[in-house]
Symmetry: C6
Subunit: 231 residues, 6 copies
Amino acid sequence: MAARDDRDEITQDDLREGMRRVLAGPKRKSAPIAEGELEKIAYHEAGHVVCAELCENHENAQHVTIDPRGQAMGFALFGREDRALHDQTHLHEAMIAALGGRAAEQIVFGRVSSGAKNDLEKVNQIARAAVTEYGMSTRVGQFVADERFISNETKAVIEGEIERMVADAYSDALALLGAHRTQLDELTRVLIEARELERVDIVAALGSLPRWDTERKHSGPGSSAALRPAA
Amino acid sequence: MAARDDRDEITQDDLREGMRRVLAGPKRKSAPIAEGELEKIAYHEAGHVVCAELCENHENAQHVTIDPRGQAMGFALFGREDRALHDQTHLHEAMIAALGGRAAEQIVFGRVSSGAKNDLEKVNQIARAAVTEYGMSTRVGQFVADERFISNETKAVIEGEIERMVADAYSDALALLGAHRTQLDELTRVLIEARELERVDIVAALGSLPRWDTERKHSGPGSSAALRPAA
Amino acid sequence: MAARDDRDEITQDDLREGMRRVLAGPKRKSAPIAEGELEKIAYHEAGHVVCAELCENHENAQHVTIDPRGQAMGFALFGREDRALHDQTHLHEAMIAALGGRAAEQIVFGRVSSGAKNDLEKVNQIARAAVTEYGMSTRVGQFVADERFISNETKAVIEGEIERMVADAYSDALALLGAHRTQLDELTRVLIEARELERVDIVAALGSLPRWDTERKHSGPGSSAALRPAA
Amino acid sequence: MAARDDRDEITQDDLREGMRRVLAGPKRKSAPIAEGELEKIAYHEAGHVVCAELCENHENAQHVTIDPRGQAMGFALFGREDRALHDQTHLHEAMIAALGGRAAEQIVFGRVSSGAKNDLEKVNQIARAAVTEYGMSTRVGQFVADERFISNETKAVIEGEIERMVADAYSDALALLGAHRTQLDELTRVLIEARELERVDIVAALGSLPRWDTERKHSGPGSSAALRPAA
Amino acid sequence: MAARDDRDEITQDDLREGMRRVLAGPKRKSAPIAEGELEKIAYHEAGHVVCAELCENHENAQHVTIDPRGQAMGFALFGREDRALHDQTHLHEAMIAALGGRAAEQIVFGRVSSGAKNDLEKVNQIARAAVTEYGMSTRVGQFVADERFISNETKAVIEGEIERMVADAYSDALALLGAHRTQLDELTRVLIEARELERVDIVAALGSLPRWDTERKHSGPGSSAALRPAA
Amino acid sequence: MAARDDRDEITQDDLREGMRRVLAGPKRKSAPIAEGELEKIAYHEAGHVVCAELCENHENAQHVTIDPRGQAMGFALFGREDRALHDQTHLHEAMIAALGGRAAEQIVFGRVSSGAKNDLEKVNQIARAAVTEYGMSTRVGQFVADERFISNETKAVIEGEIERMVADAYSDALALLGAHRTQLDELTRVLIEARELERVDIVAALGSLPRWDTERKHSGPGSSAALRPAA
């Protein structure tokens, strides 16, 4: 970046921009969007950020933007995770954060859009790995299929388990955002205003947000006890 | 175009022709059609135009013709859509407009023809994406299949949902055209006369047409409430 | 042709022969057939001709022969159709004409032969397109399958619809030929005698044959009302 | 042949040998067979010959041998058929003749051997063509499958029809040979003695054998009325 | 062999070794085996030999060894069979002999090992050919599948028939070895002692063993009447 | 190793390191792990070691480490097995040892992690071979499928048997570790302290551990009688 701008030093901003460029492509001057779509994109990205913030083990967003970059109309950048092993809770939280954008659209606009396509692919890959590689589904058990000879019945059971895990994560994402609508609205407001927020701005907008202890409150993927009152 | 015609200037018409040539191929001097087929082609194209005009969010036709061009016996050209996110309503309206040609044939001639082949392909692609990529079917949920291992049951559910979405859009297309038969007939009449209409001609033929608020009157793809009286 | 025969002019006959050669291959001096087979071949070709003649929208035969040509033991040549759109009636009639040869064998000899192989392929292709591309089956609806993921149930429904359409066309072919057996016999007689008939000979042999209005008398492919008495 | 034997003329025998060599490969000096196998091979070949002889429309054997030739331990050579069209009776008779070898083994030794492998392949190909290409099965009708999308149910129906046609032909083969056991034994006897018989020897061994009118006595493939007493 | 050993003559032993080398690979100086495994290997090979010896039509073992050779920990070499046709009895006996090793392990040690992997492959190939190529299964009949379009039901029936034939042969192998346990033990004893036995040693170890007439005592593959008392 | 360190002699340690490098890749200076993950990795590896130690026939661990090496976060190295034949007990024990890591995670932390992915693949391969190649499942019997034509029903039965065998081994692993929790904890403690243990250290940490006679106490794969009291 410095080279093109004819400056001598490489600044912190140059480094940031370099990383984001690698992750999501170069900034685009503009992208065609219809009236009202900017607000929808902002809520979508804010949904990702707020859900991640509320999940006990999930990395927080370091950056979020609604400026188009590469193919994306906006994106949120999370801290790099130093984790070697993922248990059911980690995977469940990853799915909640990934579905946070779609859940925000549903809560605020009463409908979802095609913008969650990549998020859906991601959560289905996580849930599929949990069921077919990590043995985390009770119904499928520790069975690992030979992909060439898998029976139709086993395929159907696997699909049912994946669907359930994804549905549970979406249910939790809806519950979390519903319970923190104020913060979702505020983060969206400043995001529309500034179009690009760093970690410090995100923290300022959200205020002090309680970490949601997914482990205590529910029993892994499959349960939707996010806001279940202590019995 | 100008080069071949030995003219010096590139006119607005040259630009238009260039774009249409790219989209549908060059004009053909003639194409073999049977007696009465021109009227059928005109009604088919007019059906697309009127349905699009009545849908609240759909782009309007800028041009419509019954002169053969490339493989098409006629075609309607819609404005370019500046939209990044498509929700259920947008997809439903896109299917209504695409099925407008077939619906017009059914209403006017009491039968459909092979001419809707490409339209059927298009609406099925839209509905399939809605069900399998955007998670817009309640029965399939947010499940995204791994195409290599999909069970027969899930295939059948997906097909049922696609069929339902397409059928609902067709039902709405029939209802819309049935309720605006006068405008359909008039547009067809001037189209047969002029063989080619620009936006201004279309507006003149249709007169003041109320935009149909698909959002208020039905609940997304799957419902056929196009003309349901307010309860 | 003229070149080989050492004649200077290209006659009308040369042109005809050229076209037939392109469509069915060169004439063969002889082909091995068993006793009685010539009559069967003649009835088969006459069946195609008579059925086409009786169908309201179908092109008439311009030429029919029982001289072997290419792979065919005989063939009937129909006028070129100038039609851009095919509705259910056109497809139904095309299937009736294609099954006319097999129907004639069944009526006259009480059994069918392997000679209808190509005809069966053709009518199944027509019916399959009607069901899977043109949306003309009520049971399948406007659904267009993604061929990679089609469920077994949908395959079975599609096959059932195809079978029904073909069976209805065959039923109509049988009815039409049964009701015009005299003409079928007469055309076969002159065909065996002359081995090759042009349009003028066909018309002479058939006499004045009423066009059968398939549209009024039945409701498209699937119904077998060819000879249903007016209720 | 003449060239190698250093003779000047090409005799009738040379021509015969040439044709047989093309059809079944060169004669083998010897082939390993177990005790008693020569008789089994002879009965197998004689079974083909007698069944063909008894079928009304089937070509008769011109030559039969139990000398090994190419891969075959013995073989029967039938007259070349000049037939363009095959109906159900022709196909049924072809299956009877092809199963005659296996039927002879069953009748004489009470069990069948692996020697009928090629015969089984052949009759299944005939029956499959009758069902899937010629439309000769009532249950499958005139349906011709698109091999890429055929449903499991249709596959099962097709297999059932093929199995039934083959079983009926085998049943007729057993009945025919059972009723003409004397001729079968006699032909086998002279075949073992001479190892190679020409048409004249076959006729001499069989005596005057009534042609079995398959057409009158049964209703095509599927019925096993070979020896049904006239009711 | 002679070349490497620097001897002038090719002995009978050289020829034997050459053939065995071709069939099973070169001798290995040693192969890693656990305590007690040599006895298991010896019983396995002896099981093959004794079963073959007791089957009426099966070739006898000419040589048996527990010295590792190529991939095998031991192997038994049978006489070359001069048979052109195989009936149900021959195939059943071939399966009994092939399963003799596994049956011996089961009888002597109460459990089977992975050492029968190749034997299981072989017997399943034999049974599959009997069912799908030779028409020897009553349930499948003379049906030969087109492998591209075989229905799930037919696959299941074929698998059931194969399983039954293999199970019957295994049952007979168990019965034969159980009834001749003394000979099995004695052959194993001398095999462990000598590690390699020729035909003369095998005969000496087994003493006079009655040939089991599989044909009289059971009705082909599928029945397990090996030791059924005469009723 | 010596070459790089500029030493003249190749020590015993050099040889060890060389072998481990081949098996698991080079040591990594560090790998990103989250807080508390080292303890989880240590319990996982200790679980493998303790289970193997308790299985009567399984080789013991010679080395165990929680230093990252290649792709692995830790690994246990077992003695090389000199065994030619594997019966049900051997396979069952191999599955118990392979599932020991996952079982330890479950017992100590109440949940499993993605770290058992490779272990699950391994045990499923073992169980699949037992069912489909070694004929060790009673329900599948001695049937070996032709992989191209296997019925859906057989696939389902095979999958059910594999799942049962794996579940039984996991059940035994849980029981063994539950009954020897003290040793598991102690081995984990010294492993975390030293990060790398040789055989002598493992023995010291475990003390005198009774060999569990899998053969007497249960009936092969499928039974979970690890700690069943003697009846």
